[in-house]
C-alpha cells in the first residue's frame, strides 16, 4: 500500500519523463534480492563474523585487528613490489569481485520479474541506478572490507605523504570492482576494457609524483562510467561465428565417456549452467581455504606442521565441494516427471553425478598437495595418496549430503573430520 501511495502521490509520477518513479522498482528489487538470498546472506555474514572472531586478537588495538582482517586488500599498498605485481594484484581483486557478483547473478538481476519490468518505461539510467543499488547491497561484505582498509590507511601517520593517494587507490579498487561487476552482469566487455586500462594506470602511478592525480582521475572516470548507462556494446557483438573447434568439450566428453556422454553432459550442465553460481561460490571458498592454508604454511616456515595444514586444507576443500551433490540431486528430481519414463535405471544419474563432482574436485584437491610437495617436502607418492584419499572422501560424502537436509552439514562434517584425521595419521 505504501508503494502504491508513493507511485500515485509522488510529484515525480506526474512528470511525463518519469511516469513511473524509480522507488517502487528499487523497493521490489531489494525485496527480491533479500528474499532470494536470505539464507545465503545470513551465512555470509555468519562466516564474516566467525572469521573476525577467529582472527581477532585480544592483545592488539582495534586498528591492528582491522588491519589483520583487511590484509588481502592492504597488501596492495605494500611498497617493494613492481608494476607487474601490482597490476596482477589489482586484476586478481577485480576477478574476485566479478566472481562474487557472478555467483549471485540471478538474485542481483532481479529474476523473471525484470523480464516484465523491462517492458515498462524506465530509462536506462534509472535501471542502472537500481542495478547499482542492488549490487552495492550484494557487495556489502566486500565494501565493509574497503571501508576498514580506508580507516586503517587514513590513521597510518608514518606514511603521511602517501595517505591521500592510498585512500584514493582503495576507493578506485571499490569503484573499479563495481564497473567490472556491472560489465559482467550486463555482458559489456567494453566495461572490462576500461577497468583493465584503469588498473594499468593505477599500477604505473603507484608512489610516483603523479599518484595523487592519476588516482583521482580514475575515481572520476569510474564514477562517470557507473553513472553513464548503458555502455556501448562490443563492436563485434552478435557477429560471432561458431569456430570449427568450438565443439571440443563435446568431443572430449565423447572420448571420456563414450556412449554415456549425453548422460554425463546432463550432470555437467547442471553444475556449469543451472548451478553456475554455486560452482563459482565453491571455487571461491576453496581458493580462500587454500589462501589461508598457504599463509599458515608460510608462518610455519614449511616444516612438518605445514604438511598437516595442507592435508587439513584438502579435507576442508572436500567438505566444501560435497555441497554440490544436493544441487545435482534436486535438479534430477525436478525432471523426474519425464526421465522416469525413459528406459534407464532409477539411479542412472548417481554415477554421472559422482564423476562430475570428482572431476570438479580433482584439480582443487591437487593444489594443496602440490604446494606441500614443492614447498614443504611432502614425498610425491604421499601427495598422490592424499589426493586419492580425499577423492574417496568426496565420493563418500554423497551419502551424508543426501541423507537428510537438516543434518547434512553435521553428518558431512563428522565424516570429513574423521577421514581427515585418519589420513593425517596414516601419511605422517
Amino acid at each position: 500500500m505504501l508503494v502504491r501511495q508513493k507511485l500515485f502521490n509522488n510529484e515525480w509520477s506526474c512528470r511525463p519523463e518519469t511516469a513511473i518513479f524509480i522507488t517502487p522498482l528499487l523497493h521490489y528489487r531489494l525485496r527480491w534480492y533479500a528474499a532470494a538470498t536470505a539464507r545465503l546472506l545470513l551465512r555470509r555474514w555468519q562466516g564474516l563474523l566467525l572469521a573476525v572472531g577467529l582472527l581477532a586478537s585480544a592483545g592488539t588495538t582495534v586498528f591492528d585487528n582491522i588491519a589483520i582482517l583487511n590484509r588481502p586488500l592492504l597488501a596492495l599498498l605494500a611498497p617493494g613490489h613492481g608494476f607487474a605485481w601490482r597490476f596482477g594484484y589489482l586484476l586478481a581483486l577485480q576477478l574476485a569481485a566479478v566472481l562474487w557478483a557472478a555467483m549471485q547473478r540471478a538474485q542481483i538481476e532481479g529474476g523473471g520479474f525484470m523480464a516484465f519490468a523491462g517492458s515498462l518505461p524506465f530509462s536506462p539510467r534509472q535501471r542502472r541506478q537500481v542495478d547499482l543499488a542492488v549490487l552495492v547491497l550484494a557487495d556489502s561484505p566486500l565494501l565493509l572490507m574497503v571501508a576498514g582498509s580506508i580507516a586503517v590507511t587514513a590513521a597510518h601517520r608514518h606514511a603521511a605523504p602517501h595517505v591521500v593517494p592510498h585512500v584514493l587507490l582503495l576507493i578506485d579498487v571499490a569503484l573499479l570492482a563495481l564497473v567490472a561487476q556491472l560489465a559482467a552482469l550486463e555482458r559489456r566487455p567494453l566495461g572490462w576494457a576500461g577497468a583493465l586500462l584503469a588498473c594499468v594506470v593505477l599500477a604505473a602511478g603507484f608512489r610516483t609524483g603523479l599518484a595523487l592525480w592519476l588516482n583521482a582521475l580514475v575515481v572520476a572516470a569510474a564514477w562517470l562510467a557507473l553513472r553513464r548507462a548503458p555502455w556501448p556494446a562490443w563492436p563485434l557483438a552478435g557477429q560471432r561465428r561458431r569456430l570449427p573447434f568450438a565443439d571440443w568439450p563435446g568431443r572430449l566428453l565423447r572420448l571420456l565417456a563414450g556412449r554415456h556422454a549425453p548422460a554425463l553432459r546432463v550432470s555437467l550442465a547442471i553444475l556449469l549452467r543451472e548451478r553456475r553460481g554455486e560452482a563459482i561460490a565453491k571455487l571461491m571458498s576453496t581458493a580462500a581455504v587454500f589462501a589461508g592454508g598457504f599463509a599458515l604454511m608460510q608462518l610455519f616456515d614449511y616444516d612438518d606442521r605445514a604438511r598437516i595444514v595442507a592435508l587439513l586444507a584438502q579435507g576442508l576443500i572436500a567438505l566444501t565441494l560435497s555441497g554440490v551433490y544436493r544441487g545435482l540431486h534436486m535438479a534430477h528430481l525436478a525432471s523426474a516427471g519425464y526421465t522416469a519414463a525413459l528406459p534407464a535405471k532409477p539411479a542412472w544419474s548417481r554415477g554421472f553425478d559422482l564423476a562430475t563432482v570428482l572431476g570438479f574436485g580433482l584439480p582443487l584437491l591437487a593444489v594443496p598437495a602440490f604446494a606441500a610437495c614443492v614447498l614443504a617436502g611432502l614425498p610425491p607418492l604421499r601427495a598422490l595418496t592424499s589426493i586419492a584419499s580425499y577423492l574417496a572422501l568426496l565420493a563418500a560424502l554423497r551419502a551424508p549430503q543426501l541423507f537428510h537436509e537438516r543434518h547434512a552439514v553435521v553428518l558431512s562434517t563428522i565424516v570429513a573430520g574423521c577421514w581427515t584425521v585418519a589420513t593425517i595419521v596414516y601419511l605422517n
Binding site: 556412449r259 554415456h260 556422454a261 549425453p262 548422460a263 553432459r265 546432463v266 550442465a269 547442471i270 549452467r273 543451472e274 535438479a331 525436478a334 525432471s335 523426474a336 516427471g337 519425464y338 526421465t339 522416469a340 519414463a341 525413459l342 528406459p343 534407464a344 535405471k345 542412472w348
Partner: protein, 212 residues
Amino acid sequence: MLRFEGICKSYGPRPVLQGLSAEFGAGAWALRGPNGVGKSTLLKVLAGAVEPDAGAVWIDEVPLHTDPTAAKARLAYAPDECPVYPFMTGRELLAFVAWAKRCDLSAEVLDIVDGFGLTRHLDTRCGAMSLGTQKKLMLAAGWIGDPAVLLCDEPSNGLDAQARLVLIDLLREKSLQATVLVSTHDQTFAQALGATVLDFADLHECLPTVRD
C-alpha cells in the same frame, strides 16, 4: 500392445484412479474427459513416470512393474508440459533420450525435427524456448527408438497450424503399427487422427478391456 489392469492411484486422501483396466492394440486412441479427472495421471502411470498404488501395466507384452527398463524401451511419452532440465539444449535432450533408449538418432527422427521446424532451435536451451517449441521437441523425442506405444498428453496444445498438420500426419502413420494413446479436449484433432474416442468416465465403467 498396451494393457493395464486394476490401476489405482491416490494423491493423499484423494483417489484419482480407481481400478482402471483396458487393452489397446495398434491404432490411435483419444482419451477425453473434464479437467482434473485423471487423464494426465493415467498417462504418467502408463509411462512409468508415476508409480501406481495398485495394478499392473504391460507395454508390448513386457510388464512395466517387473521389467521397467525393457518396457520403457518400447514406449515413448510426451507430457503436456516440458518437465526437462531447463538448461539442456534441444540437441542435448534428443541425444540424452537416444542414450537412455540405447539407440542412435535415426534419419526419421531428424526428418521429424526438421518437419517441426526445430532445426534452428536445437542449440537453444529448453528453458529459453517458447511453449510451442518445447512441445514440438517433446513430441519429436517420442519417435526416438521406434516405440510400440506412444503416449501423448494434450499433444495439439500450443502448436501452430503447420506443426499441427505435421503432427496429425505423423501420428496417423505411427498408429498403423503402434498404439498411439492421446489425451485431448480437441475433437477436431482426434477426428483428424482417425482416433477411437474414449470417455474417461466410460473407461472407469467399461472394465475390464477396450480391445482393438
